[in-house]
Each structure stands twice: as C-alpha cells, then as structure tokens.
C-alpha cells in the first residue's frame, strides 16, 4: 500500500534544488494555454536587484560592460563626469519547440518501444521509472536492467535518468528509445523531461507523464496515449484537447475518469501504438547591460553623453530630451549624431556604432545645456524594446537634478552609482504607482459601480507593498551580512567554551553519521551498530546520528507514516532502546533523525487523494499544506518549500505543532534521544523549529537546509555569501537553537579540491568561505551523507579527495560530522589520526582559524595557534618562529602539524 502519488519527484526535487538559482525559467506545461508570455523585456524583478552588480561583473568577459572599461574607451575626463551608470538589460527569450511521445511496435509483437524526443537544442534528460502490475499507488520503481538504454544512470532505487541524443546526424529531435517486453509485469512507464542546463522539469499538466501499458492504470488524469479500443475513452489526442478546452474543470475530469476506471479492471495487454506531439517552451533570460556616462564639455557648453552596450547587432536608440522632471519627450535641435532619423516628430532614432572587435556598440550624443534629462529606450527589432523598469531610461543631465553635490564624487564609483540612479528611477516609478492608486481610489470613492477597477487598485497596492518589502529585505539582507559574523563572534567569545547551550552542545562535539543508504537492508541495523558503539566512542566520536526510526513507506525511513510506530527496517523499538542505551553507556549522545516536513497518509479522502492520517496522530487534511495540489490539503499555504513526494505538514496549525512537540518529547523520554537531526527543514519556517526545540530542549540539533550554490556559466562563484546567508537565515529563524549542515563548505571544497583551486577556501575577508566562517558554532561541517554519497550519489564528494575534506573539517571550527562509510573504509586510520589531533588540541566549534595561504595549489591555516594544516600539492611549512611545529599526520595532498 502506498500513499505516494508522484514519488519520483523525490530525487527530482532535491536535484532540482541544486539548480535552483539558475537564471532560466521553465515553461512547458502544455496544458496551460494562457501561459504565453513570449518575451518580457526587462521584466521587473525585485529580489534580484542586488545581483545586478554581480551580473555586470560576471559578464565582463564580454569586455565593454564594466564601467571601468568604458571609461577607458572614451575620452572622458573623470573630473567632469557627473553621471555614470550601468543599467541591466534583461529580457526573456522563449524558445518554442515540441516534444513527442511515441509508442510503437518493435521487432515483434512482444517487443515494443517507447520514444520520447524534443527538438529544442539543449541537454535533455529523461527521468523515468515504471509501475508494476499490482502497485496500487503511483509509486515508481526502477525498470529492469535490460530496459535501460545505454548511458542510463539510476536515481535512488526507483528512477533512471537517460540522456536524450540525436540518433543520427541532422536529426531535429534529440530522443531516447526505451525497448520493453510486453510480457513483463510492467503496468506503465512514467517520466518527466528534464533540461539539465537549467534544471527545469517538464511535466504533463503538472504531473508526471504516464504511458500505461495495461489499461486499468488509466485512473490518473495525466495518462498519455490512451488506448482507443474503449469507447469510453476519447483517445489520447482527443482527451488532451478536451483538457485544454476545459482547463478549469480538469480536476473534476480526473475524478470522473478515476471512477470510471474502476469498472475497467479486466483488460488484456493489447497495446496500441500512438504518436503525440506536445508544444514545449523553454525560457532563457538574456542579460545585457547599457552604460551611460555624462559629462560637460566646457568648450562648447554642451553635455556629452556616451552610451555603450554589450548588445550586438543593429541596436537603435530611440531617444529624446526633456526640460524638467516631468519627462516630456522633446526633440533637440540639430545636429544629430550620424545615422539618426527623426521618428514621427516625437523622437530620434540613432543606430549605435559597433565597437571594434564586435563586442557591443556605442555612440556619443551631444545635447544642449538647457535640457535637464535624456530619455531613451533601446530597440532591437520591431518587437523587442528594452526599457528601464518598464519606463523610459532617464538620464539626468544636470548634476543638481538628481543628487546632492556631495554624492557626485561617489557616482564615479561603480556600484554606488547604480544604487543612486536606481533610486531615481525607482522613486519615479513608485511615485507613479502611488499617483495611479490615488486616482483609482478616488474613482472608487465616487463611483461604487466601478468596483472592478478599484479591485485592481487594491491589488496593485498590495502587490506594491509586498514587492517593496521584498526589495528592501533583499537589500538589507545583502548589505548587512556581517551582522552575524560580528555579533556571533562577540557573543561567543564571552562564553566559556565548556558551557552547554541548548541545541548546540558543548562545542566539542564530533558527529558520526551512523548509517548509509543501504543500512536498512539487513533488517537489524540497530543491533549491528550496537556492536560498534565502543569502537566509535574510542575513535573519539561524541555524538551518533541514528537513522529515522519511524515506520516509513520507503525502507530508508524518510517517508514516515505512523510517527509513534517505531518499527522500522532498522529494527524495532526495543532494539532501538537497546542501541540508545549502549551508546549512552559508552558516553555518546544520540541524535534522532526526525522527518517533520512531510508524512505519508494512511487513507484516501473522498477524492481518492492520500491525505488522511491514521495511527495515534490521526490528523485529517487540515494538517496538510494547501499549496500542493497533489494532496489537496486544507491547511495553510506552506511556510517553506514543498517536498512533492508526500503530503507536507502544515506546521502553522496549532494541533499539529502540539502533536509534534508531544511526539518529540516522547522520543526524548521514551527512547532517550539527546537531540535531533532535522530532515528537509527548507520545507517549513525556522520559527517552528525553534518552537519544537524549545519544547524538547535537545542537547544538540542540526537541520538539513540544502539548496544550490551560486554558479555562473557552470562555474561555481567564488563568493557564496548568498548561499551561506540563506542557511544563516534559517538558523536565525530558529533563533540559533539548532545548527545547520554547512552545505556551503562542502560545495566549495568540491570545487577547490577537484579543480585545484584552493584560493576558493578563503572568502574576501580572509575567513572560511562557508557557514563556518560566519557562524561557526552553528555550522555542522560534513563532506558526505546518505543522500550525497552512499549508493545514491546525488552530490558526491570528489573521489579520492575525501581525506583532504576531512583534514579540513576535522581541524577547523564548526562541528564536524563524519560519514559512516568513510569510517569503515581504508580511510579509517587517517580519520582516526585527524580525530585525535582535534581532541588532543581541544579544537572546538568556535576555534579561531587564521588562513595563512589560499592560493591556486595550496591552502594553509593555523587553528587556535595549536594546529597547522595545509591542503593541496603546493608547498607550505608552518613558520619556524616563536612556535615549534611538529609534524603529526599527512596523506594525499594534505599535511597537519601541532605546536610543540
């Protein structure tokens, strides 16, 4: 019995997260007919404002965009430049194409073939799995080995990823062919299409594609290619088009078909081929910039405005001037720049001149001093206009019109300049909105019948407030990331290190992750682990993280169902208590792996959706968040990200929180857990975690907040402040009652070690670049866990580099966590040596680290003036000054010394 309807999104979700920040949007969903934004030039994006600067920098490989370069290319004397600004130009380019799904007979009646193809260029991956006859839910399983096309990679134990390829030179479609035997007990093939470049997932009407090979599976609404032998079914294309027409009623359509499907149970396997094409839209955001600098020409008393952009091709500036703030367009007197035409007596159109080398184009404009502003928009072709926040670009031509005199100097500093002018245009923009709203409001007051219009007004106010708040938040957040750094350090230095603070231990903890992805297989993991307790303790571990203890739909335990049923594939409740006691006996603390974000249901609701719970916590659908359509929850909208494979719990419900607190307390008292490892905390607000932790007062707690690092053009950014800030934000939302896994550090280690880029291990302030550099006492450092490594390998640490990773985390501040697989491997002795260095030198989570070297091929640091270490092939020896250093241990590309 299964409650999972679209299980495959489990890996997809996590992996998609890794690409979360990519700049490309998804758009498939062919059923959304109204989803037709083809091009949104310069769409207004509040939260990305602060990134603008970064974008400029990142694209500086294409030379002309950065303000510094532009200064060089034009004869602008810096003293005269009073306005200089680089505007981002963002537009969305939609690539339309199609995908096809074809089912056809192979070499004989028994061997059939399913093909999926897509004609948009890119790296497409088919993420797929099968359902077997007799499966009730829509859980996926891994297809039999022989079905897997070459190049397939297995994802956990229920899905396969196969890249789409062109079968022959000149093929329009990339495709994948899956051959299968109709005599197998496979009931359906399920898949989603994934764009590896953007991380976007393309589903069918919001759900996985499903190609039924047996008829009674047709109870889902997302069936594709249904058989036409049944009169009841209109056939695949018919059904699809119907769904398009009746997009709003699709929900009831599904229900109908599911009730019908009950009557269709008996059917032989008589397949019919089909071929279907679906439209698919991939959105690519194209970012360019335009730089404008203005100076006075003292000889001619004219204003010289230089405009440059990295756009290529024929870029036309559609421009005019204005005399005051009202921004009324006017055409100045001649002469005009070359290649200028007058457009309908309202504006001038000047073609920009390509720059040498072909990277972008520019033009110098001369304007009489009497004008106060220069207005323009950029035109790429008849349909593509680039504007500034949906307004015309406005460049003030007098130094006094925009800024107090003091700031003029600062305008020369790129970045600052951006801020200031942004503000100018912003002010204009919002002032406009406020004005508009006022107008609408007065309409509202004077004329009741014009309700609809006032609704719009109200909406726009709310939207505006919300956007403004989001904008303010993003800037405040990014301009003040150092708060934690300083505040935390100050706070922590005043604390005696041995003090136990709730949730974060003594600071000397060393964690052992006591299981891997396969541990459930023996059925007696608790007992196996128990035998290793003494050994783990003597190695120097002080905390063990046990696997999730509850009954679970998946054997590994991360799909819990009855929270109070502690019989799992790892053992029963008595064995659990036994192993907990054993670890307590050897002086270790125990972390329980608790899954609070989601819970699998026991029963279906009246619509057949699994969202009614059983067991001691027999919640109904009010406990399920409302914003995941798969589970039809009646709770509130999720306070975090959704995990799509199971009903997400609505933690805003008092009864839910009360029950969870009780359960956690029960685990504390009944089993003896000392603390928690909190699964998928991205799924709900950190404030709830605080609530739970305060209620259960754990000795130690750590949350799994895993999202993607920042990459530019496939290369990891040096600065991962935004990434660690998100983790810090979570910790802060939980009021620091729990630490978090330092995903940032792991990611940076990946790049640094794998690519020999050890400079990455120091941030701009010479501190560790991960969470550990900002809030060491809350950072739980790790290099691998059951998801990233083990047999899943979602984000595996670079092979052969593991010991360098451990040399880093075991000598550095933060609380290190060592993965079970590594302890019981050939690395064991090296890990043991590092553990003893850490213990002997009393390195703790708040130890001071001084980075001595962070160069291409070597990183070196001295920790608490007691331990020196280096990573990388480059040379480093600790200084032979006041301290004597003695070598302790080394391995491939790492070496550690102690102060004598």
């Amino acid at each position: 019995m299964s409650t999972v309807t679209i299980r495959p999104l489990l890996p997809s979700y996590r992996r998609a997260n890794l690409n979360f920040r990519d700049r490309t949007n998804i758009l498939l969903k062919p059923n959304y007919i109204n989803y037709s934004i083809k091009s949104a030039p310069n769409a207004r994006r509040f939260c990305s404002f602060k990134k603008l600067q970064k974008i400029t920098v990142s694209s500086s490989t294409s030379t002309s965009t950065s303000p510094a370069t532009s200064t060089d290319t034009t004869p602008v004397r810096p003293g005269d430049v009073f306005f200089k600004e680089t505007f981002p130009l963002k537009r969305t380019h939609a690539v339309e194409g199609k995908m096809f799904v074809r089912l056809q007979k192979g070499k004989d009646e028994k061997n059939w073939q399913l093909s999926v193809g897509c004609n948009i260029p890119g790296k497409w991956i088919l993420h797929w799995g099968v359902s077997f006859v007799g499966d009730n839910g829509s859980e996926w399983d891994q297809p039999p080995k022989k079905m897997r096309p070459p190049g397939s990679v297995s994802i956990k134990d229920y899905a396969i990823e196969t890249p789409l390829k062109k079968l022959a030179e000149g093929d329009v479609f990339d495709q994948v062919n899956i051959d299968f035997d109709t005599r197998s007990d496979i009931a359906a093939i399920n898949f989603v299409l994934k764009d590896e470049e953007t991380g976007a997932w393309y589903q069918h009407r919001g759900r996985d594609f499903k190609v039924p090979l047996v008829d009674y599976l047709q109870h889902d609404g997302n069936v594709i290619g249904t058989k036409s032998t049944f009169g009841l079914w209109p056939g695949a294309l018919g059904q699809l088009s119907k769904m398009i027409l009746k997009a709003d009623t699709s929900q009831s359509g599904i229900q109908d078909s599911s009730s019908e499907s009950c009557e269709l149970k008996q059917e032989n396997k008589h397949l019919e081929g089909f071929y279907e094409e679906l439209p698919i839209v991939k959105e690519i955001i194209i970012e360019n910039t335009v730089s404008v600098s203005v100076r006075k020409c003292p000889e001619t008393a004219k204003t010289l405005l230089n405009l440059e952009t990295d756009l290529t091709g024929d870029v036309v500036v559609h421009w005019g001037v204005c005399r005051d703030d009202s921004k009324n367009w006017e055409i100045p007197a001649e002469p005009y720049p070359p290649e200028t035409i007058v457009f309908k007596n309202k504006a001038l159109r000047t073609l920009l001149q390509p720059k040498e080398g072909g990277k972008g184009c520019s033009r110098l404009f001369t304007v009489d001093e009497e004008f106060a502003g220069f207005l323009f928009v950029l035109k790429l072709n008849e349909n593509t206009w680039l504007k500034c926040m949906e307004n015309d670009f406005y460049i003030p031509l007098t130094s006094s019109s925009c800024l107090p005199a003091e700031s003029v100097q600062e305008m020369l500093i790129p970045g600052k300049a951006e801020e200031a002018t942004q503000e100018v245009s912003q002010t204009a923009y919002t002032a406009g909105i406020i004005k508009e709203i006022r107008n609408l409001v007065s309409d509202f007051s004077s004329d009741i019948s014009r309700k609809t219009k006032s609704k719009e007004a109200q909406k726009s106010i709310l939207l505006e407030i919300e956007k403004l708040a989001a904008e303010a938040y993003s800037i405040f957040r990014t301009t003040a990331p150092t708060f934690f750094e300083e505040a935390a350090v100050e706070l922590e230095e005043s604390k005696p290190p041995a003090k136990i603070s709730p949730g974060t231990g003594t600071g000397f903890e060393i964690l052992c992750q006591g299981f891997n992805w396969e541990s459930h297989k023996s059925g007696r993991w608790y007992m196996e682990l128990k035998e290793k307790a003494t050994e783990l303790s003597s190695l120097g571990f002080s905390v063990i993280w046990l696997p999730p203890p509850t009954e679970s739909v998946s054997p590994e335990g991360y799909m819990p169902r009855d929270l109070y049923n502690l019989s799992s594939r790892y053992g029963n409740i008595d064995e659990l208590k036994d192993v907990v006691n054993k670890f307590h006996d050897v002086g270790m603390k125990i972390l329980g792996d608790v899954v609070l974000n989601h819970r699998c249901a026991h029963y279906q609701n009246q619509n057949g959706v699994w969202n009614i719970f059983g067991g001691r916590l027999n919640w109904d659908d009010r406990a399920v968040v409302a914003d995941d359509p798969h589970f039809q929850g009646r709770g509130n909208k999720s306070s975090g990200d959704n995990f799509h494979a199971a009903p997400n719990i609505d933690h805003s419900q008092d009864f839910v929180r009360k029950d969870i607190k009780e359960w956690l307390c029960w685990l504390r008292n009944e089993i003896g857990y000392d603390g928690w490892r909190l699964d998928f905390v991205r799924g709900f607000w950190g404030g709830y975690v605080k609530d739970y932790l305060e209620a259960t007062e754990p000795y130690f707690a750590v949350g799994e907040y895993w999202d993607s690092l920042s990459y530019t053009y496939g290369e990891m950014d040096h600065n991962q402040d935004a990434h660690r800030q998100r983790i810090i934000d979570w910790i802060n939302a939980a009021s620091g009652t729990a630490g978090a896994f330092d995903v940032t550090t792991k990611g940076i280690l990946h790049s640094a070690l794998d690519r020999c880029e050890y400079w990455r291990l120091s941030d701009e302030k010479g501190k560790p670049p991960g969470v550990v550099g900002w809030w060491p006492s809350r950072a739980v450092t790790f290099i691998e866990n059951h998801d990233t490594g083990s047999t899943q390998g979602h984000w595996r640490f670079p092979g052969g580099r593991e010991m360098q990773g451990y040399a880093y985390i075991l000598t550095h501040p933060g609380t290190p966590s060592v993965f079970y697989d590594h302890i019981f491997s050939h690395y064991r002795q090296e890990i043991e040596a590092l553990l003893s260095v850490r213990k002997r030198n009393k390195i703790h989570c708040r130890s001071r680290v001084e980075i001595v070297k962070a160069e291409r091929d070597v990183y070196a640091a001295i920790i608490d003036e007691k331990v020196a270490m280096k990573l990388g092939p480059g040379h480093y020896e600790p200084p032979s000054g006041s301290q004597n250093w003695s070598f302790v241990t080394e391995g491939r590309d790492y070496k550690v010394w102690e102060a004598a």
Partner: protein, 543 residues
C-alpha cells in the same frame, strides 16, 4: 500637530459604505484557517487560487490601505466624525524607526535604496512617519561646532518626498552595535580627562555618554556639555528649518545612555545570562563624588559623601548577594540609603530637566513636539527595593513612587514621554527575575496621567518579543491613550518574510480597531474576528 488620517478616511468609508460593508460581513464568516493562511503566507496577499472568502479578506485589507494612502489635508478638525470620536478611538499615529546606522559616519545614506523602498511600503501601508536617530558622533564628528548635516538632510528629503512624517531622535550617546561612537574630538578629550565619563564601584568607566556630573563644567575645550548640546540643537534647527513643523513633527532629546533618562547601571551585563542582575551605581567619577561630598556636607553628614554604598552588589549579581537591596532590612531603607538614593535620583532628574528645558526653549516655536525617553527597567520590580531601578537612578521602591517626580519634570517642560517596552508582557519574563514590565508601565502611565504628560510608546525587542504584537495592541487601546507609537526598527528582519506579514497585520488590526466605532451594524462580529486574528497572530509569532 496631529494628522487625522483616519478621520478623513472614515468619511470616505461612509461614502463607499456598500462594498466595504460587504467585504467586512464576509470576513466575519471567515474561519480560523483562512485567517491563518493570510498570515502564514509569506509574500502573498495575492494568491491566485485562494478561496473566495480569502479573496474578500484581502479586499478588506486593500480597501484600508488604499483609503489610507489618499492625499489628505493634514488637519485634525477635518470633520464632525473625527472630532466627535472619543480620544481612545482616534488614530494611533504609527511611526517606524529607521535603521540606527541610516546615516554613516561619512554622512552618506546607508542602504539608501532599501530605505527608499521601505519608506514607500510604509506609506502604502498607512504608516504615519518614521523615526530617524541623529547622532552627535556623526553630525559633529570632527571638531566642535563643525556640523555636517548632509546625510540627515538627504534622509529628510526622502521622507518628505514620500509624504511621511519624521520624528528625529537627537542622540548624544554612543552605540556598540552597529558601532556609532561619540564625536572623535570628545573621545580625544576623554582620553586625557577620563572623569568626563561615568565610573562604577570598581573604577570601570562607561564611555557611551558623558557623565551628568560634567553637565555644567567647562570640560569640552572650555565649553560645558550643556552648551555644546545647545549649539548642536541650534544648528540642527537652522539646518532643518524647511522641515520643521511640516515634515518633522517631533524631536526626542537624548538624555543619557541609549537616549534614556538613566545612569548606565547595566552596561556590563553578560549577554548570556538570562536573569539580569541589579546593575551598579555610577557615582564614582571624580565629579560625581564631588557633588556627593557637597551634598553630604550640606546635610551635615560629611562621612556619607566619601563614596557610594559599600554594600551594593555588582552588575550581574542578584539583590540578595549583598545587603544594600535586601528586601527586609536592606540598607536602602536606612537613613543613609534614603540620603544616597534621593541625591542620586535627584541628580538624574535635574540633568533631565536641564536638557528638556534646553530642547523646549530651542525648538519651542518651531511647531514640533519635544519628547524625552525614560527607561522601562522592569527586572526585580516585584521585590520591595526595585534594585535595578535604583541603580539606574529612578528612586522607585515599594514605599516611594519614583516616577511622579519624573513626570512632573516632563510636565514642567511641556514634553511628552517616550515609554519603551510596550511589547513586553509579564508572562514571558523569567520568573526568577521578579520582573513585571506591565505593572511598571502602568505605574509610569499613572504618574503621567496625573501630571498631564502625554505618553508615546515604543517596543523594545528588535527581533520580536513573544506575544509582542498582542501586548502592543493592548497597550495602545482601551484606557491606554498614546500620542504616537514608534515601532522599532526597519532593517533586514523587519522586512523578512518571518516578520513583515505580522507587522502588516498589526497595522491592519490597529486600523480595524479604530474603525469599529463608526460601523455599528457589523461591529460585534468584526471585532470578534479581529480578536481571533490577534490570537492566531500571537501564537505564530511566539513560535
């Protein structure tokens, strides 16, 4: 000067009665779950597929917001509606504090873009104005009499442009986080002349503000601090003349550490300690001891003037760790104790009097209201000796009302009193601290009522006290009349998804509570639903 937004907007509400009422009726049917959706939802008053109920609820909010942001004449007697209403139902003038480091020490505006966006959001929400801390250490940083107001003027312009009001806090103290020091030249003087700072029993100095003992001593290159403060105010007045009484509606005069009328008696508290200690008397700098000596001699007890109490506990100790504050038979009840405490507190009051009268006379005719802030030192309030208040200079015990004299001093100078801690509730204080913010607040308000001093509120906790919004609402309605309320403080947390929705809800609730007096037919139901909101709000906030 009070701007009666509500009065006007209600006039509109009457005009548009029909749709408005409809939506409110619908809200009252809303079930609890919907209420919460609205709250928990981080960015989303505008979800696409929400229930019909909810959409109406959104509407209601919208209506409020839009009505509020109309351009309205700033005229308190705008109509019979507003003037007829009892004062307690009048609009609470809500201000929001700008970041403490809004203006950097280089006189540039920090996070200008964020502040600009924030100001617009607040304006649209219907907030009355913002509070701007103006630092001595920024504006008169380099040399005495050399003022640079450019950063602050830029902010004032921004605020004026948006159409918000401005409340200015003149800060003559320093701040640790973010770091805002005293003026460089003052710090330099302090290095050679450390007696300008407060000193505790163990000789430790507090360099966050000048000791009140030097108020009238020419320690600053021949000028007294009072003269320097006065010139600072004069310069401010002339520089901000165009804004005075129009955009700038209020000015708070900094009176001591954190701007509050107190001694820095708790400045060395360990942050990790949950229970605050009693603090220390700050009377051991040379000038304070001189004053004490004179006072003792005048009272015929010269020996009492040699030093402060010898049996007072130190900063983070509890009252009973030494004999001065013992509940029964502690020295505080002895004649010596009364002598010392009377002197210690009267020094503070005369310091406050001096600064407030200075402010009143300087800004008197500009049309702005003058405010002073007093601290809410609520720990140990439930003991008889109130040790924390005593060390801070507020001679308030079980036997003596220490706030009457303070309120009287405010009344004398026609100043309004800023009271912080309006978000603190008794139940969330650690029991062992014998704390009672609510009773203390009530006591101070009583004193103010008696002397006709208007009270203006503030919240204390920057990151949200548990149940803070509920407590603030309690403190703003019913018997509790406030002149205005300043919510602290704009910044990343303020706009974060964890906080901003509850703040908007708070604003909305404030407005709703005001409204119901005019909207009788559905009033009961609506009030009910508002309370439900409020409860939900609190639980989530506390979580």
């Amino acid at each position: 000067m009070e701007v009666s937004l509500m009065g006007n907007s209600q006039a509109n509400v009457v005009k548009t009665g029909l749709p408005y009422r409809d939506s409110r009726v619908c809200c009252s049917y809303k079930n609890k779950i919907d209420d919460k959706v609205l709250f928990v939802n981080r960015v989303s008053f505008l979800g696409q597929n929400r229930s019909a109920n909810l959409r109406k609820a959104q509407l209601r909010f919208c209506t409020k917001a839009s009505v509020q942001s109309q351009p309205l004449p700033s005229d308190r007697d705008s109509g019979p509606l507003s003037s007829a209403r009892p004062k307690s139902l009048d609009a609470v003038r809500l201000f929001v504090g700008l970041p403490l480091d809004t203006v950097s020490d280089a006189n540039t505006v920090n996070h200008a873009k964020a502040i600009a966006a924030g100001l617009k959001a607040l304006k649209l929400l219907g907030v009355e104005g913002v509070e701007l801390p103006v630092w001595w250490g920024v504006a008169e940083k380099e040399a005495m009499g050399k003022y640079n107001w450019s950063g602050y003027l830029a902010v004032a312009e921004m605020v004026e442009k948006i159409g918000l009001k401005l409340h200015v806090s003149l800060c003559f103290h320093a701040l640790k986080q973010p770091k805002i020091p005293l003026p460089d030249w003052v710090s330099q003087i302090g290095e050679s002349q450390s007696s300008i700072f407060y000193t505790d029993q163990s000789g430790q100095q507090f360099k966050g503000c000048l000791s009140l003992a030097v108020d009238d001593l020419p320690v600053l290159d021949g000028k007294t601090p009072i003269q320097v403060y006065q010139e600072f105010c004069e310069s401010f007045k002339s520089s901000f003349k165009p804004f005075m009484g129009t955009t700038i509606t209020g000015i708070s005069m900094g009176l001591g550490p954190d701007g509050e009328l107190r001694y820095p008696s708790h400045h060395r508290l360990a942050k990790s300690s949950k229970i605050p200690g009693v603090g220390e008397f700050q009377c051991c700098d040379r000038n304070m001891l001189n004053l004490l000596q004179q006072h003792a001699e005048a009272n015929g007890n010269p020996l009492w003037g040699l030093r402060g109490p010898h049996d007072a506990p130190s900063y983070d100790e509890s009252p009973n760790s030494n004999s001065f504050f013992k509940d029964n038979g502690g020295s505080w009840e002895s004649p010596y104790g009364d002598f010392f405490l009377s002197w210690y507190s009267s020094q503070l009051i005369s310091h406050g009097n001096c600064l407030l009268s200075l402010a009143s006379s300087t800004f008197g005719e500009t049309g702005v209201s003058i405010y002073g802030k007093i601290p809410l030192i609520h720990s140990w309030y439930k003991t008889r000796s109130h040790p924390s208040e005593l060390t801070a200079g507020l001679y308030n015990t079980a036997k003596r009302d220490g706030y009457a004299a303070v309120a009287e001093m405010f009344a004398k100078n026609s100043c309004k009193m800023i009271l912080p801690g309006m978000d603190l509730s008794d139940e969330h204080q650690p029991r062992e601290s014998f704390s009672s913010p609510e009773s203390l607040l009530a006591q101070i308000r009583t004193a103010c009522n008696k002397h006709g001093v208007e009270v203006s509120g503030q919240n204390s906790s920057v990151t949200g006290a548990p149940g803070g919004f509920e407590q603030m609402k309690k403190n703003l309605f019913g018997e509790n009349v406030v002149d205005l309320f300043t919510y602290q403080r704009m910044g990343a947390y303020f706009f974060s998804p964890e906080h901003f929705p509850s703040f908007t809800k708070f604003v909305r609730n404030l407005n709703q509570l005001e409204l119901h007096g005019d909207d009788l037919p559905v009033e009961e139901e609506v009030t009910e639903s508002v309370h439900t909101n409020a409860n939900t709000n609190i639980q989530v906030q506390a979580a």
